[in-house]
């Protein structure tokens, strides 16, 4: 079989030769009905019968992985797709650096690797659950289609992780795979593993912010797992990254289009001061200070996903060659970091300051800093939209210490500028920095569905280009198919 192309002869499309791997095929086929039950129970609510213009990967070759067609979501061909194998690939960091990349799980790292795969896997279905009600308030068919594309690909990412569990981790892996379908986002008894994945995604602005900030954490994690010395994990993550890019696109352009629409409406109404919130809201668009507050919330929740500032787990993952740094092979150093230091922001003697830490235990922070830089560039592109529209306002990422639940800053109150304030002061100013219930109610009031092809809700601008070069009035979702 050509490794580039996808084998559709089994129930599960794949490019990993499942037909000759009967045991794994059987295990996956056993898992499949439970997955479909989960999708039907927890996937997009109310649109399972609609025809959605989705892209499906039919090959991992660049020309073949974006085939567009109308599909009913439950019929989407979820499959197991790994980037092509490089037989010369080596372990590129840590104590095993230079050894050939592992095609099987090294016994001593089995537990660690399984944990990495399970944590990554748990986030994938979680976001589908969080977003399941959004279809009903989509601001356009274009946006609805993008939401569903994100959802089916998160579903495929779950498949990707489950394949690794079933193939390489035996009975434990099968149990973990079942548990991935058992936990539910926000469930009191069986919640998802990471905090941000138990938060509600109540409206489309939250969805766009989530895909920009929280899915970007996913991108960073996938990037570092794509460096793994365990080759099947690396290849899986490399292919997932191409899909993850679409999620980044939905978030960045979604927020960008909201900003653009707000600025256009302000200009048309002659409103110069972005802080005239009531006047701006009266136009039926989301005011810029509220956009800043939403950004503060989602950015800070996403920072928590990177874990503690100093982490021996992170050091062990790296030393063992299991999880690298962001774009590890493009960094010029010894890729062992044994004696290196890295500066980490900590809370010391009542002050927030940079402290030298061993680079190995500070790896979470290095990844988080790369994440912050990536976010900041996106925020600058948003600022360009505001600037171009002629509105005098700038969005800014809040300080790392702001609104944190994990790590050094979880017990202090810091403003977005990084000024520490008392509990009493915090209670007084909190509403200036984070969305209030009223803000949420206002945003909710705008969430009226628009389902006519080519039309968009008043609070969001049309995109500059269509998906797959489609014209503006293309019917991306045939709702009542």
């Amino acid at each position: 079989m050509n490794i580039m192309n996808v084998d559709y002869s089994t129930k599960i499309p794949n490019n990993v030769n499942l037909t000759e791997d009967r045991q794994v095929l059987k295990a996956l086929e056993g898992w499949h009905p439970g997955y479909l039950d989960w999708w039907n129970d927890m996937g997009p609510d109310g649109f399972q019968e609609s025809l959605v213009y989705l892209r499906t990967a039919i090959s991992v070759d660049p020309k073949g992985w974006a085939k567009f067609d109308y599909v009913k979501m439950p019929d989407y061909r979820w499959g197991v797709l790994l980037a092509p194998q490089d037989t010369e690939r080596k372990v590129n960091f840590g104590q095993h650096m230079g050894e050939p990349a592992w095609q099987e799980v090294p016994g001593e790292y089995r537990a660690m690797l399984r944990r990495l795969v399970v944590i990554q896997g748990d986030t994938e279905p979680a976001s589908v659950e969080q977003q399941r009600h959004l279809g009903k308030t989509a601001p356009s068919l274009y946006d609805m289609r993008n939401l569903f594309q994100v959802n089916v690909e998160e579903g495929r990412h779950l498949w990707a992780m489950v394949y690794l569990l079933q193939k390489y981790f035996g009975r434990d892996g099968r149990e973990e795979a079942d548990d991935l379908l058992r936990r539910r986002s926000g469930d009191a008894d069986a919640p998802r593993m990471l905090g941000a994945f138990n938060e509600a995604t109540p409206d489309w602005l939250s969805f766009f912010m989530f895909t920009f900030f929280t899915d970007r954490d996913g991108k960073m994690q996938l990037e570092s797992l794509a460096q793994s010395g365990f080759d099947p994990l690396s290849r899986t993550c490399r292919f997932m990254l191409t899909e993850e890019a679409h999620h980044m696109f939905v978030g960045e352009t979604g927020v960008g289009r909201v900003l653009q629409r707000t600025c256009e409406a302000m200009k048309a109404a002659g409103i110069e001061d972005p802080n005239e919130i009531a006047k701006v809201r009266a136009l039926g668009v989301i005011d810029l200070p509220t956009m800043q507050k939403k950004m503060n919330l989602h950015y800070s929740l996403s920072l928590d996903l990177f874990g503690s500032e100093v982490s021996t787990n992170a050091a062990n993952f790296y030393n063992s060659g299991l999880k690298g740094r962001f774009q590890e092979t493009k960094i010029e150093d010894d890729h062992r970091l044994t004696n290196d230091i890295y500066q980490v922001l900590k809370f010391v003697d009542g002050e927030i300051k940079l402290v030298d830490e061993p680079a190995l235990t500070a790896l979470n922070m290095r990844l988080r800093d790369d994440y912050t830089a990536d976010c900041a560039r996106g925020v600058e592109r948003w600022n360009k939209i505001i600037e171009k529209a002629g509105v005098n306002f700038r969005l800014e990422l809040p300080h790392t210490a702001f609104h944190r639940d994990i790590g050094e800053f979880k017990d202090i109150n810091a403003t977005p500028k990084g000024v520490i304030v008392s509990d009493a002061d915090w209670a007084r100013v909190k509403g200036d920095y984070l969305p209030s219930a009223d803000d949420g109610d206002f945003i909710s009031s705008l969430m009226q569905p628009v389902s006519e092809p080519g039309k968009f809700a008043n609070w969001i601008a049309a995109p500059k280009v269509g998906i797959d070069n489609k014209p503006g009035d293309f019917e991306y979702v045939k709702i009542a198919a």
Partner: protein, 397 residues
């Protein structure tokens, strides 16, 4: 003589989200980035197009015809793409119709009758160009090959259906594909590429199939046409393209489309008609076809065309060799419909497309001039204005 023009691949910084997918995908490291932008190095890019389909935004699919390529530094500094510069170009203008020079030259020749630069209709969809080339062709399978002309007709014109299986091959009505007959010529060189207009609409010969149809006339000494006309079902064909970025179907339902053709020049108009029928059957715009052939028996799609309702398509067949009848050419029928044509030409939603043998150009042009004169309009000025606004199109060979 200026330096040869180059088609430069650029990324739109306003749409790009800097996801790194293109840089990761590029097999020859032609794509790089700084803190501001992702950019393509014109000295390295070999137009393999591997980066096009994985891009989540469409930012990657941008092209400019340049005398001097933009440097990496230029591109790093941009916050949006520069407009296409007016370059010292031949008549065919500056839309990127193909990336391969041999195809570009063929299309330039086909557009000569325009007398100016070709501009796509404003409402046309964005075409994909040159996704496949000689080095990396798409493999199509012949799933149908039918004779269109009557058995006793002199000419053998065939309807050939090519299926692309799992390979993406996005075409728009009006685009062409390239075919190179296998083997070598008498000098041992590979055969020249031949272009064929797609005769089916963008969603396939049947809706939602990944195939397309061609209308191919067997030429007595034609290497490629004989190769194609003789292909049995199941045969595999190397296909390049799609090509063409201006002779495209307008998506605006209000567009009136006057289509003038002879012989296999009907291929794009079959595609246009089918597009209208499927996507906008109640469109306000009028479709009008002037189709010239020697006899009904030699007119491709004669039978199927009879079944197309007049409401969808106004048909004017013009026969020049029916025994006992006067010879009628397309220009004669255009004159015969002068009142209707003059009204349509006076409408800013009207588009004119001419496709067929070069020999028809002069006659058609004179007929339009006569019609316009009758309506006190200057055809030369109107033609130029229509061309510049993407409403006048010529593809002749």
């Amino acid at each position: 003589m200026n330096a040869p023009l180059k088609k430069q691949h650029l990324i739109d910084p306003e749409i790009c989200i800097r996801c790194n997918t293109c840089e990761e995908t590029c097999p020859i490291d032609a794509i790089t980035h700084d803190d501001n932008n992702y950019v393509v190095n014109a000295e390295i890019c070999n137009y393999c197009m591997d980066c096009i389909s994985p891009c989540p935004t469409g930012a990657i699919d941008n092209w400019r015809v340049v005398a001097k390529p933009y440097s990496l530094e230029d591109q790093f500094s941009w916050s949006d793409l520069p407009a296409q510069e007016e370059v010292e170009s031949s008549d065919s203008g500056v839309a990127v119709e193909a990336l391969e020079d041999e195809i570009g030259a063929l299309l330039e020749e086909a557009r000569k009758g325009l007398g100016g630069k070709a501009v796509a209709p404003h409402s046309a969809s964005k075409p994909t160009v040159n996704l496949y080339n000689r080095g990396k062709s798409a493999k199509a399978t012949v799933t149908g090959n039918f004779r269109l002309t009557h058995t006793d007709a002199d000419s053998d014109v065939r309807h050939i259906i090519l299926d692309f299986g799992d390979q993406p091959f996005p075409v728009l009505e009006g685009q062409s594909i390239g075919i190179v007959a296998p083997g070598v010529d008498s000098e041992g060189k590979p055969h020249l590429v031949r272009l064929y207009s797609v005769a089916s609409s963008r969603d396939g010969e049947r809706p939602n199939t990944n195939n397309l149809a061609l209308t191919v006339k067997r030429e007595p000494q034609g290497v490629c046409s004989n190769y194609l006309c003789d292909l049995p079902r199941g045969a595999k064909v190397d296909v390049t393209g799609p090509f063409g970025a201006t002779f495209l179907h307008p998506n605006d339902p209000a567009a009136n489309i006057i289509m003038i053709c002879t012989g296999t020049g009907s291929a794009p108009f079959r595609a246009f008609t089918e597009r209208r029928r499927r996507a906008m059957p109640d469109a306000a715009g009028r479709l009008l076809l002037f189709f010239g052939a020697r006899r009904p028996e030699e007119l491709p799609y004669f039978g199927p065309l009879q079944k197309v309702p007049e409401k969808l398509l106004g048909k004017h067949f013009c026969y020049s060799r029916v025994p006992g009848q006067p010879r009628v050419y397309v220009q004669d029928r255009i004159r015969g419909e002068a009142a209707q044509i003059a009204t349509l030409l006076g409408n800013a939603n009207t588009h004119v497309y001419i496709c067929g043998l070069k020999g028809m150009e002069t006659g058609v042009d004179e007929a339009f001039a006569d019609v316009c004169r009758g309506a006190s309009t200057d055809w030369a000025a109107l033609k130029a204005a229509m061309r510049d606004s993407g409403r006048y199109h010529v593809e002749t060979y």
